[in-house]
Symmetry: C2
Subunit: 249 residues, 2 copies
């Protein structure tokens, strides 16, 4: 009974196709970030060198883009509608916590690299918006935990805050991708000297493609997250679906 959770099988197929595309584009983005730092740059280590800086794009793309993207659409997976809402909330919060930790470690890598080389911190628009995004993301996670996971907030408060939580989540996610694109721009200008970025060496073309992949990943996640008919059905409907499916099996 593969199609029970969604009203139409064709709709389920469309959702699956988009999900597979998003996972593929997100996964390829992570691979691209690794190829970038290992093939075109100095690789990874934690010693204040450029290799420490390289953790920044890898962790941002893995955690702050890919894992955050998955966390956003986790409620939309039809086969999870049989699971309790509480379990799904834990998975949503857990994935976002991993993403936040990776984002913070990725920032530490840049600060340590800057300090080791006496490069000023927090001067660029990338750093301003990036730090703002991390602060709002942490706040969103903390408030989400306090209001939606802990059992103290009354139902009307949860209902009033949910649209704000959803909007903030999607806006922060879009801002994170915009910040990643700024970061790619900065890094390519600073690190490509001979040949320069403007001469389009292979690294420039490769990393520009990584930027395009991030935009496509963001667009797919935002489409899946904003289709009302792909929403997890309210608790009662989910129970009905579950009972129906059990009686059919």
């Amino acid at each position: 009974m593969l199609c029970v959770p969604l009203p139409h099988c064709s709709d389920y197929g469309r959702f699956l196709a988009l999900l597979v595309s998003a996972l593929l584009v997100g996964f390829v983005s992570v691979i691209f970030s690794l190829v970038w730092v290992f093939h075109y740059r100095e690789g990874l280590s934690w010693d204040g060198s450029a290799r420490e800086f390289n953790w920044h794009p890898v962790l941002v793309i893995t955690g702050f883009v890919f894992i955050q993207g998955i966390a956003i659409i986790v409620y939309r997976l039809p086969w999870t509608w049989k699971c309790s809402k509480l379990l799904m909330k834990f998975i949503h919060a857990g994935l976002n916590t991993i993403a936040m930790i990776l984002a913070i470690v990725s920032m530490v890598a840049v600060f340590e690299y800057h300090n080791a080389r006496n490069i000023p911190n927090m001067y660029s628009l990338h750093s301003w918006i990036g730090l703002t995004a991390v602060i709002f993301y942490s706040l969103q996670l903390f408030l989400g935990f306090a209001v939606f996971l802990l059992p103290f907030a009354p139902v009307p408060l949860r209902a009033a805050l949910l649209p704000i939580h959803v909007y903030s989540g999607l806006t922060i996610f879009a801002t994170v991708i915009a910040t990643a694109l700024m970061g790619i721009t900065e890094k390519l200008i600073f690190s490509l000297k001979s040949p320069a970025y403007s001469a389009s060496p292979p690294e420039a073309t490769f990393v520009n493609c990584l930027g395009l992949l991030l935009v496509i990943f963001g667009a797919l996640i935002l489409w899946m997250a904003s289709r009302p008919h792909w929403k997890r059905p309210p608790e009662e409907n989910a129970k009905v679906l579950l009972t129906e499916e059990r009686s059919l099996n």
Copy 2:
């Protein structure tokens, strides 16, 4: 009868406050772009010099960000709900056409500047995503015109395409803002030499603030455009509201 078009006066007040904030932030962004090019840079002209390049940020921020933003929320203005839907479609399409023309002229300015200085075109991620955004925006405008303005498309087709039109519009808008942030990053790195961008001269701080304003403007527009209760009511309801108001006046 100021509050007739919206169910609650407090909600109307909230909408007005957000609208005024968005207009203010958008307007200040345009002023900031002018201060940037006139106070910190060489001003404006059309002669292949850096002054021609300067049209690029001014026209993008005025047209592709500010005017596009207004075009997005034009259906949400409660006092326009008395106007015919067709008139509002013309205003929406008209504003978007102006934005598209300004975006295209802003690109011509960069190409002419690059060609005059033998700087390669289309090498940066900013240029790749920017050109893609202009192409999708033109396509969106053309399809919107063919499907929603011309009287040939059947109602089911319009209904099926409307969510895609809305999603594409908002995604292109967000992408344009991300591209503007990349452009600001590029321009500050390239043009600030002594002192460099990393030394945070006044121009760097000022233009970083412009970047923040663009993010705030985008966030305000996306909030207003995505609240379902601020949508223009269906044609029949609007007629009822109009009749009620007339009978009250």
